[in-house]
Amino acid sequence: MVKYDTVLIRFGELSTKGKNRKDFINRLYGNVKYMLRDFESLEYRKAYDRIYIKIHDEDPEAIREKLKKVFGISSFSFTEKVASDLDAISDTCYRIAAETDKKTFKIITKRHDKSFPMRSDDINRAVAGRILKNTDLKVDVHDPELAIRIEVHREDTYITSEKIPGAGGYPAGINGKVLLLLSGGIDSPVAAYELMKRGLMVEAVHFASPPYTSEAARGKVLTLASMVSEYQGHMHVHVINFTDLQLQIYKTAGDPYAVTLMRRMMFRLAERTAKQVGALALGTGESIGQVASQTLESIACINDVVRIPVIRPLVCYDKVEIIDLARKIGTYETSILPFEDCCTIFDPKNPVTKPSVEKSEYFESQFDYEKMIEEALAASEDIVVSPEKNDEDFL
């Protein structure tokens, strides 16, 4: 049996990063260790263009699932580490070939250490020759069913038959912090994923309107946050009580402008929260035209109240594309649980699709929202969520 004892991690978008290479690698190395922190006997080694992890007795399947979610990894492989010696290399490759039920193969050698006495092509030939002679496998250099990769380094050589695609992108957190407006819907958790993929550390702000929204609705949002927090380890969720502002807005402006004004208030609250937590931008799950508050006119009118940049990763996605992504990251089923619109009182019948800044400002001049914003911020809760673990006693 081939025993894959070492995980070899290849880096993502590194070529473009030039002088930031070191930061990239250090951050990725830290993130990988954090994501695998439950596997206590892992042994890590950081090299110029790879991270190596000796897995000892840990469960390779569980490690594989975790690593698939680490941004900044272009691909990784479970490898067998052997001495950099042609006989040892050839033995392991032959064993991989002998154990497979595939029909065609190819050997791909890469010499990281040019002092090895054979050139890559010569190694390919020598190893392939042995496999051809002793098995029924045929060589197919264009589309092999089995690709055996040999990475030759000065001391050790890593051999693998599987290259697992990583999540790509940048290591979480390397590009700074963003504050995402998180609802219980389908879009915003996907936006969180997209932001994290670009190396941003995501914190979330959620607006709750108890008793018009229930504890279950709030719980659902925290569950969604905990699901996407897998990609960066944990996540802060700032829960802001929005009831008083919401009631006041309805009282002042009535139905058509309510959603516009609510969104403007949320942006104001979010901008100030972002300042407090050191986030340099806001994020939203908005997508052009999806609902009344996401027409270009609405977006412009709502955006008007903040100076902080607003990143909208889903802005040009179709709903079906967003749903596909939500399914991929596993948030879809939770997002569609029927808690969000638990209350029909605040379900406007005729929301305005082309709101104007002037009119919004007129309504807002009718009440002292500054004071209410201050109060809401003062009562804001900071909840830290992590990926849920099913380790409760009764399970």
Binding site: P210, P211, Y212, S214, P338, C343, I345
Partner: protein, 376 residues
């Protein structure tokens, strides 16, 4: 930690410590199959039969008229389908329009899938049906009359014994009574009742436990097929420890029911008076109701919002039947009583137990006033 106050005893109850103690002991010790022929199996079987006979004694029926089930939803469904399928020449069922969803949905299925005709007797403003209504609905091809003793949302009390007597005297239909909400609270004479459903978890017992009383003369087709358990009427390995503690559950519930009746009645009166004193609050339960169930509406605040607000203040209450709590529809019980959609969409059910106190009732009234002031 916020003080939490439980006012949802019609939904389910806490477990009586005595019941829990016995259950734990039984669970530890008696794991073998009660159908097994070795000593341990026959011992468990004997104990379960002892429990069965104790239950029968408490209800004044015969031992072999008790079938252990998973609870009232199963007992109700089995009673309806079990009797109807056993009398294939009859195609008519009589029930009311405010039964529990397990009865209404079973009846609906009998109509839609099996071609039965069902008469849904409309209740009056007091949420009950009369003997005359039931008598009038009977037909020569009526297989079953199924009526709840006490309604789960408003606590109204049907004249179940009268109706049963009439059905037995003047027709060949069988009489089923859903006793889920009345057991331990009202006395009932089983003389003319052919089938009845009781659930343990409403009686400070275990969830997933109940009985169907089925008199010997009643033809019955089992819904769950299996071995010879429960006289072949309900298959599946007996949940022996659970069934055994049903006896203690029922005995204690009946004893406590008698003891605590006056206390609950006093709490109920206090609550109702307090509710009537709040402007805009309307009482939905009828004048004649079991005191443990109190139902009211404040129309400006829909049920769900009111429940959320009460929850935040530490009170656990229901709106509609908890089995329908995920639905947004107005309460069908209240609409059947003739109340407006608005009133039926803003109802709150408070259900008391002997563990509740006067202080809790006062705290509730205070919290309710605050909520109405803030959001009303």
């Amino acid at each position: 930690m916020q003080r939490r106050i439980y006012f949802d005893n019609a939904s389910t109850t806490n477990i009586n410590p005595e019941v829990l103690k016995s259950y734990k002991q039984l669970l530890d010790q008696y794991y073998v199959n009660s159908e097994s022929l070795y000593d341990e199996g026959t011992q468990i079987s004997r104990m379960m039969e002892k429990a069965r006979s104790a239950i029968a004694g408490l209800l004044d029926v015969e031992s072999d008229e008790i079938i252990f089930t998973s609870g009232s939803s199963e007992s109700n469904t089995s009673a309806i389908k079990g009797v109807c399928f056993a009398c294939p020449e009859k195609k008519h069922i009589v029930t009311t329009n405010i039964e529990h969803s397990s009865v209404l949905n079973a009846c609906k299925q009998m109509e839609e899938v099996f071609g039965y005709e069902v008469t849904y007797l409309p209740v009056g403003p007091d949420a009950t049906v009369t003997l005359q209504q039931a008598a009038h609905a009977l037909r020569p091809d009526t297989a079953l009359v199924t009526i709840m003793h006490v309604n789960n949302e408003v606590g109204s009390i049907n004249p179940i014994e009268e109706i049963a007597e009439y059905v037995k005297k003047h027709s060949h239909a069988y009489m089923h009574a859903d006793l889920t909400q009345s057991m331990g609270k009202l006395e009932i004479n089983m003389k003319n009742i052919d089938l009845a459903s009781v659930s343990a978890h409403k009686l400070e017992g275990l969830k997933g436990s109940g009985i169907l009383i089925k008199k010997k003369h009643v033809p019955f087709v089992p819904l769950i097929n299996g071995g010879e358990q429960e006289q072949g009427l309900r298959g599946g390995t007996s949940n022996a420890p659970v069934n055994m503690v049903f006896a203690k559950t029922l005995r204690l519930a009946m004893e406590n029911g008698r003891k605590s009746h006056d206390k609950i009645e006093k709490l109920s009166r206090m609550l109702e008076e307090g509710l009537r004193a709040i402007e805009g609050v309307e009482i939905n339960h009828p004048a004649r109701h079991i005191p443990s169930t109190v139902n009211f509406s404040y129309e400006k605040i829909p049920s769900e919002v009111m429940q959320n607000a009460l929850n935040r203040k530490g009170f656990m209450v229901s709106a509609r039947s908890t089995c329908d709590s995920k639905s947004d529809d107005p309460s069908y019980v209240l609409t059947a009583m003739g109340y407006s959609v608005k009133r039926a969409s803003s109802c709150i059910r408070v259900s008391l137990s002997s563990a509740n106190t006067e202080e809790e009732v006062q705290l509730f009234l205070k919290a309710l006033k605050e909520i109405i002031e803030q959001y009303g």
